[in-house]
Symmetry: C2
Subunit: 102 residues, 2 copies
């Protein structure tokens, strides 16, 4: 039996992929990103909609910010978040569609 040729992933590609999937591998972050995929949201609004503590939401937003998946603008005391990675939103929506179409 002949050995087939393979493509190998570079370590960097593997790590980067894992980082993206890790970002999406949590119910809270999925809900946040799904909300932001529909409209700009303040932290307070997200907190209300998800029915979570302000701190928990803010920590997750910080994480998404570090990964450059979201960005924000400030208006007085209010911080408005939007998504910042179109491709990740696309992937999220694809997975959601896949599940809902079952």
């Amino acid at each position: 039996m002949e050995k087939q040729e393979h493509t190998f992933l570079s370590p960097n590609t593997v790590e980067e992929s894992a980082r993206i999937f890790k970002a999406l591998a949590d119910p809270t972050r999925i809900k946040i990103l799904y909300l932001l995929s529909q409209e700009e949201c303040s932290v307070g609004h997200i907190t209300e909609v998800l029915n979570m503590t302000q701190s928990a939401v803010s920590h997750q937003l910080g994480l998404l910010r570090n990964l450059r998946l979201v960005k924000y603008r400030r208006d007085g005391n209010t911080f408005y978040y939007t998504y910042d990675d179109e491709h990740v939103i696309t992937i999220l929506n694809q997975v959601i569609s896949h599940i809902e179409c079952k």
Copy 2:
């Protein structure tokens, strides 16, 4: 400012999405699934290619099996694994392409 209408995700959709993303949120599993996306592989082959212990690989395969992302056939003492969720492979490849095209 008028409130916009939103779509909400059902708890089940959120949980299912998180489960899929969690499955992909680990370098070892990404490498295994990428290998399997190219060809059927025995456990021993995966172990060699990834340069990991047999046990570590087997544990991860068990996890992927539980999630119905891979299946296997037996031939004597050798277990040959293949992927079992086309859609998850598609998602994986999309993320990989996205990263490599940067």
